[in-house]
């Protein structure tokens, strides 16, 4: 064996030309370069931080932040720690992004369906809506909504009463809404609602199963509605309406009590919803158009009712094309909600990456923490997407 290999011409060349050895060699070189780059970056950073007398480590998280946050649903005081600020930022970002995602998806479906309308004028308006919103920067839109609409609101004394309600008012301090205050037995109503949801899901599953087995269609609309809505309302009434409302009232120059939302938050939310609804509309339109016309015709020729054709044939197939891009759009909403910093809504980037960073100077730690949050969110979302993709692939074959 050794004799044979020694006889082969160009032993060194054989090694150089062997793909396996070369690939190992390249990988070692790349890995070495990477390690060298990381170490020199760390070393430079340490030297620079030492010369600038910057402290290292996460101990600063326990220090008192000492600044107020303009809006948060949490019980936050300026004397709380930086870690609390991080938490406040995360909650604010998630609330802003969560509400925007729901509304943007809904509006996107409406606009996407309107774009496919046979009514020429409506389709044109919807398509211009999409074009204008997609072709201008989101940051510009946020500033536009803030300065154009929500910064010019009247003072509290001249508040706008929405739908004529005295306790639902809009002024330059924000939107004031009644705040629900649950009493002792309210948990029973919540329990009834959750239980109702579970029962409704089980009912629907059973109806579907029965239809698949026997072909007999059972309408579950009425029992579902009864279980989800009527049952909790009954429980609510029987336990003696254990819910109080904390109403905002004009006292002096400002409203007190109730819940309120900053004008900046409204502006960011409107901008996020409107901007992303244009993208969602395009996805919905493309999804519906991706289902071939033959599917509609085949379903009709089987004798399905028009509403069944839509519900059982078209929508499930369209969803397959709509859901994956829609989920990455949701990820974009979470990321783009960081633009709220431009008009001063206290989201994670604004309270932690700007104010806390400027105050404490712990740049490396803070940047790492903020990036870790966004990465967690997006990795979670893409994990969900992968699960969904697996599921629809199974039903495909």
């Amino acid at each position: 064996m050794s004799e044979y290999s020694s006889k082969r011409p160009g032993g060194v060349n054989a090694i150089i030309n062997d793909e396996r050895y070369r690939s190992v060699f390249y990988q070692v070189v790349v890995f070495g370069l990477f390690i060298w780059a990381v170490f020199s970056l760390i070393e430079n950073t340490q030297i620079n931080m030492a010369t600038r007398k910057m402290a290292v480590g996460f101990d600063f998280l326990k220090n008192s932040a000492g600044f107020a946050v303009a809006w948060t649903p949490l019980d936050y005081k300026p004397s709380d720690s930086y870690f609390m600020v991080y938490w406040v930022g995360i909650i604010n970002t998630l609330i802003l992004a969560g509400i925007s995602i729901v509304l943007a998806t809904f509006l996107g479906f409406v606009v996407g369906i309107l774009r496919l309308s046979r009514n020429w004028l409506v389709a044109q308006i919807a398509s211009w809506y999409v074009e204008v919103l997609r072709n201008t920067p989101l940051l510009l839109q946020i500033i536009f909504w803030y300065l154009g609409a929500f910064a010019n609101l009247p003072r509290p004394k001249q508040s706008i009463e929405i739908f004529g309600f005295e306790s639902l008012v809009l002024n330059n301090r924000g939107l004031y809404i009644p705040k629900p205050q649950p009493e002792d037995l309210f948990w029973l109503t919540v329990l009834a609602f959750v239980g109702g949801l579970i029962v409704a899901v089980v009912l629907n599953k059973r109806a579907t199963k029965k239809q698949q087995e026997t072909g007999k269609y059972i309408s579950t609309l009425v029992p579902t509605l009864v279980v989800i809505f009527v049952l909790p309302i009954l429980v609510f009434l029987l336990t003696g309406m254990p819910l109080d409302w904390d109403l905002p009232l004009l006292k002096g120059f400002n409203y007190r009590g109730g819940g309120f939302v900053l004008p900046a938050m409204l502006a960011v939310m409107v901008a996020l919803v409107v901007y992303h609804s244009a993208y969602a509309a395009e996805m919905v339109r493309a999804g519906i158009l991706s289902v071939s016309k033959g599917q509609t015709e085949a379903a009709s020729s089987l004798g399905l009712k028009q509403s069944f054709v839509m519900r059982l044939v078209i929508i499930p197939q369209a969803m397959r094309a709509i859901v994956p891009p829609m989920i990455s759009l949701w990820m974009n909403v979470v990321k783009n909600s960081s633009l709220a910093i431009a008009i001063g809504f206290p989201d994670l980037v604004s309270v932690f990456m700007q104010t806390s960073l400027n105050q404490s100077g712990h740049a490396v730690e803070i940047v790492a923490m903020v990036m870790a949050f966004y990465m967690t969110v997006s990795l979670t979302i893409s994990a969900c997407l992968n699960v969904y993709n697996k599921k629809i692939q199974l039903t495909e074959r």
Binding site: N44, W120, I125, N135, L139, I143, S338, V349
Partner: protein, 451 residues
């Protein structure tokens, strides 16, 4: 039997009756209206509502933009149309418009920015002309060498030996491209053929043909070195750059680096070598999962810490590096999408012919994949152009930064809406043109659903 049938056919020859006219109200303008706008009760309601909404919008917009317009004023106070109400102060936009485009660049030096833009346009137009040859070389020099010329024209000041050479090379390339394109358009053969013919090498062997070309390139280089020798521009430090000019510089550099970097990252992601694949995936996922604004903050706060002692990086450079990293990660995913659309047989066929990895990628896979990718690449560029506005948050005066600066000018304090509207129109024109162009490409390349 046969006689009878013949007789029948002769006597009862089918004569079609003349066509009936279509039912009234189904053709022409009325038919179109009925079918497209008033097809049923719901449709009619929607039409009427839409018309009311459009009318409302138009009336309000007309009132805002024209009726209340104040075209001549020297400060915002003069824009009042009544003692309590401000008119639409287009005078302020006019006053600031130069600043929107060029930032705080000195007026007497603005011609430098303009001429760099014209040079770029002249450089790139031949790529779209059908008769011009060697398009790839023109595009590559435009992307790789033009930035040195532009960088010097924008920045000015002293040149070191490196910049001296690069500016001379760029100038030489530019003149060559122009002459070449002109010769191609007029005579149908490119500059190298003409040089060979004029030098009398046309009859000699192919191997000698490069001699006159190289000699004339060297002469060209020496001439342009001589030409620029005495010329020096006034130094314009980059904190004077701003407006649309800065937006285009940042997004232009981002676009120019994103494509090659994205291709390398995408190839790395599909590589069989584990270390390279893991590093590429980590880079792409990291930069795609965090918002651009956090990368920009990271750049401004952490890049100065990363550099060895004695090196400094200014804010603009950090922002440009951040935008490039971000754009490369997004481009890598676009390229990966294109690579996945190429059937596996193409890779195998390339390998079977004995091409190396880089040959098979460069000659077989990439040309096909790029065709699929072009619409996505253009929309990615559009996104980058829009996302560049984020640099205004870290304190650079790009177009949006200048818009915000207007409202802090004591003379025009509080002037928001008109400048914002102007910026929106500028962005809309740019992005709309790009998206229409990408749709046109999609149709022409046949990569869409249509075929």
């Amino acid at each position: 039997m046969t006689e009878i049938t013949e007789q029948n056919t002769v006597s009862e020859k089918f004569v079609p009756k003349p066509d009936l006219p279509p039912p009234p109200n189904t053709t022409g303008a009325i038919g179109w209206l009925r079918y497209n706008l008033f097809d049923g009760f719901l449709s009619s309601c929607l039409t009427v509502l839409s018309l009311i909404a459009i009318g409302f919008l138009c009336v309000n917009f007309y009132e805002w933009a024209f009726t209340k317009a104040v075209l001549e004023a020297t400060n915002r106070q003069e824009c009042r149309i009544t003692p309590t109400e401000f008119g639409t102060c287009w005078a302020g936009v006019e006053f600031w418009f130069k600043r929107f485009i060029y930032g705080r660049y000195t007026d007497s030096e603005i011609w430098r920015v303009n001429s760099a833009a014209i040079i770029l346009i002249l450089w790139m137009v031949p790529v779209w002309l059908p008769r011009v040859t060697a398009k790839l070389n023109i595009a590559l020099t435009g992307v790789l060498i033009f930035p040195f010329l532009a960088g010097y024209m924008f920045l000015g000041g002293e040149r070191n030996w490196f910049m001296e050479i690069m500016v001379a090379v760029a100038l030489g390339c530019f003149i060559t491209v122009i002459v070449h394109s002109f010769l191609c358009l007029v005579t149908g053969s490119g500059i190298s053929k003409w040089i060979i013919k004029l030098a009398g090498f046309a009859g000699r062997s192919e191997r000698l043909h490069k001699v006159p070309v190289i000699v004339s390139a060297a002469i060209m280089f020496l001439i342009s070195l001589f030409v620029i020798n005495g010329v020096a521009f006034k130094e314009m430090s980059n904190n004077l750059w701003g407006g649309l000019f800065l937006t285009l510089v940042i997004s232009g550099i981002g676009i120019a680096t994103a494509l090659p970097a994205g291709i390398l990252l995408a190839l790395g992601r599909r590589s069989k070598m584990t270390v390279i694949r893991v590093l590429c995936v980590a880079f792409i996922e990291l930069f795609r999962s965090v918002p651009l604004i956090t990368i920009l903050f990271m750049a401004t706060t952490m890049f100065p810490l990363f550099l060895p002692e004695g090196f400094h990086i200014n804010k603009l450079a950090s922002a440009i590096v951040a935008v490039c990293l971000f754009a490369a990660a997004y481009m890598a995913e676009v390229v990966r999408g294109g690579l996945q659309a190429i059937p596996k047989g193409q890779y195998e066929a390339a390998e079977a012919v004995g091409l190396t990895y880089w040959q098979s990628m460069g000659f077989i896979v990439m040309p096909q994949a790029l065709k699929y990718m072009i619409p996505n690449i253009v929309s990615n560029f559009m996104g980058l152009f829009k996302d560049t506005t984020l640099v205004s948050i870290i304190g650079l005066y790009d177009l949006l930064g200048m818009i915000n600066a207007v409202s802090q000018d004591p003379r025009w304090i509080g002037l928001h809406h008109e400048p914002l509207f102007t910026a929106a129109v500028i962005f809309f024109i740019g992005c709309f043109a790009m998206s229409k162009y990408s749709q046109h490409l999609e149709r022409n390349l046949g990569a869409g659903h249509g075929r």
